[in-house]
């Protein structure tokens, strides 16, 4: 089992996962910045992290999910700083022997990350106003 987490300054350039040997299923999720928040058009999201707590909890979550779903690989990449509308702020690659575990793990990881990992986002409008 291999796990890897990265925090990246700014947007993420999506790419295919590294070769995940021993997997019958490899799934990738890309989270991208939508054009609106709270029903208002926005220009970007500003992401914040709290190091080293964010990295530690992201890594712990990856290890927990990998064990829970018997994954062979999990790699999570999350932005901090400004990410403009249309750009990618989160990538998750998962490798598992079979499809169902990979897809279930993907969903579980994202739900848990949104619930407990100290990562925040604040929307910025075209005029520079912050939406909170």
């Amino acid at each position: 089992m291999s796990t890897r987490v990265q925090l990246v300054d700014g947007s993420i350039t999506p790419s295919l996962p590294r070769r995940f040997d021993g997997c019958g299923a490899v799934v990738t999720f890309q989270g991208c910045v939508r054009g609106s928040e709270q029903d208002q058009p926005i220009a970007a999201l500003l992401y914040e992290v709290y190091e080293p707590m964010t990295r530690r909890m992201l890594a712990q979550l990856a290890n927990d999910v990998a064990a829970r779903f018997a994954l062979t690989h999990i790699e999570a990449i999350h932005s901090y700083g400004r990410v403009n509308v249309g750009e990618c702020s989160f990538v998750l690659h998962i490798g598992a022997p079979r499809r169902k575990a990979a897809l279930a793990a993907m969903d579980f990881f994202i739900d848990e990350m949104k619930r407990v990992v100290p990562i925040w986002k604040v929307a910025v409008t075209d005029s520079g106003a912050l939406l909170a």
């Binding site: 709290y50 702020s89 949104k114 990992v117 100290p118 990562i119 925040w120 986002k121 604040v122």
Partner: protein, 83 residues
């Protein structure tokens, strides 16, 4: 004895509070739960957001009854929204 505790704020809670740090004076040593309650009183703008928030002490989520030392780093962990 009383101590002044500095609490780091992030994301929407920092925007609502208008600051990245709040300083709260409480009898020492304060417990994490007491500090959370005091934050709401000191900053009504974030009070509605505190029900789902936790206090982190030295980068670990603290139980409500955990005592906080003057030398501890304290942060409010709430309204997280990764992904």
């Amino acid at each position: 004895m009383r101590s002044v505790y500095t609490i780091k704020l992030f994301g929407p809670q920092a925007v609502r509070a208008g600051t990245r740090e709040l300083r709260i004076e409480l009898p020492s040593p304060a417990q994490a739960g007491q500090l959370l309650a005091a934050l709401g009183e000191a900053c009504p703008a974030i009070q509605p957001t505190l029900a789902g928030s936790r206090i982190a002490v030295n980068h670990e989520i603290a139980a409500a009854e955990q005592s906080i030392l003057d030398s501890d780093e304290v942060a409010l962990i709430g309204m997280v929204s990764g992904g």
